[in-house]
Symmetry: C2
Subunit: 319 residues, 2 copies
Amino acid sequence: MRRLRDVGEYAWIARFVRDLSSQRRGARIVVGPGDDAAVVRPGRRALLLTTDTLIENVHFRAGWVSPAALGRRAFRVSVSDLAAMGGGPTFALLAIEAPPRLAVGHLDALVRGFRAAAGASGAALVGGNLTAGSHLAITVALLGEAPGRIVTRAGGRAGDALYVTGTIGGAGLAVRRLRAGRRGRLPDPPLRLRAGRELAPFAHAMIDVSDGLVQDVGHLCRASGVAAELEAASLPLALGCRRALGEAAPTFAATAGEDYELVVAMPPRREHLAARLSPRLGCRLSRVGRLVAGPPGVRLRDAAGRVLALPRDGFDHFA
Amino acid sequence: MRRLRDVGEYAWIARFVRDLSSQRRGARIVVGPGDDAAVVRPGRRALLLTTDTLIENVHFRAGWVSPAALGRRAFRVSVSDLAAMGGGPTFALLAIEAPPRLAVGHLDALVRGFRAAAGASGAALVGGNLTAGSHLAITVALLGEAPGRIVTRAGGRAGDALYVTGTIGGAGLAVRRLRAGRRGRLPDPPLRLRAGRELAPFAHAMIDVSDGLVQDVGHLCRASGVAAELEAASLPLALGCRRALGEAAPTFAATAGEDYELVVAMPPRREHLAARLSPRLGCRLSRVGRLVAGPPGVRLRDAAGRVLALPRDGFDHFA
């Protein structure tokens, strides 16, 4: 009998998405399963739908993050999928599994943190569910809209330049330190709604970096039918990550995950816009490589052009 | 420090919903948190949003239900909240927490069961999430619409007759037997989309019976600012429940939960329609009592008019 740990999260999802894609889609489903968010059209207006879960002892441990920051984190991790399509959130549902021993004040602070984060992004918490369980688990469903073009993972073409917002490696380093028992807090995921919205009109494809740059660029490559070349020297490393890891920082940052930055594939003719757009994004925008023709896959090269060996592509729940 | 088990699920939710209601609602939120589903209006069209979670060893145990039936159950339990407003589902998101040891075939069958149930109700599974965890947990988010009037819990008035669809007590008895170690299966929750849609134009208020008739009628009473009188002799008891429990069947069925039938408050002037509507509902429709003026609360009376003592109102995750 094959078990989930033998197959892995992404292989299972990929197979299931193929299975679903073979179904008749219908005019009301613009983007089905397999992208950052689904795009549906129940009426005239296109709506974005996405769901994500944070689980205690999987995505965080007690003490890594305050209750309010955990609520904020749950919102931002989910909203990142909408940002990666050029959209933003309008309504949120919050389903919580909580152990009966959980302090009421903890739960209150968590939900208030979620609400405040949602409100700050123009979304309202309109419903939810609370159920007993053995650990804390937070599942968010977001309904969203895109003011303009909706960008999927699938539009990347050979020749496109790859850009990354903000910096990477900082959250991954924090997780590594916390796992090793050092004191500290998980940093807040960045909010890239504005960046996603500003970049969408010019992007061929976008994805958010949740499970590691190499892994998520790999998803974009598979959806777009191209390969990617990333330059280690160009990665926008978080300062703390560069300082702590030195030469090992690029490969660590490229595979650590938890960044929630956006990766954008921009056609060459739009590249001159990147510099002009930059001040409007609210964050850095760094050119980190390009898409090339070839079977889907991601290579990370050093300054001499050598392909760097990676410890892993990124995070897989079951691998 | 107060813990969740000291406060209880419903008290926590009630307090939180009050807290949220004090916020400015805005034109885009028609029904906010606290009802069966939220009703939002991102464009011209009103949309329903709801979320629900099934957790292993809380809502079911391995062996109580086949993987496909569990997927179907997850869909039906969620869709029941839309039926209780007179709506139906259009799009579904499925977030699964699964232990790495889970058989892939089990997960496949679960998701196929969900998809088949969604498809049979006119809804498409458009996205989801899969994450590792210590147990199986299934969180569903549904987007829905109502073809006509949307009915909340809040419109009940003194004098309204209370009706219940289908039968109650059957699923609760199955749970009791399974918990006691007897062999068997959890019955499929009924699908009351058609009943909800047909009853909505004539109902003052509706709610689905998930945690026990008395408890859910109590929610309707609190939302409507009325009390309820239920007649034990009028309850539509599942045949197996009546046979197995005899005289104890009404109080058991009124508090057992897992029925997923609808409770409908109908104004007296509409009562003559109940008989006429019945053939179109796809299930029985039984008059079980009425709403009366008074502080919110539910009394179950025997044929002699005596108030029956209840072991509990229904299911509370933390009580």
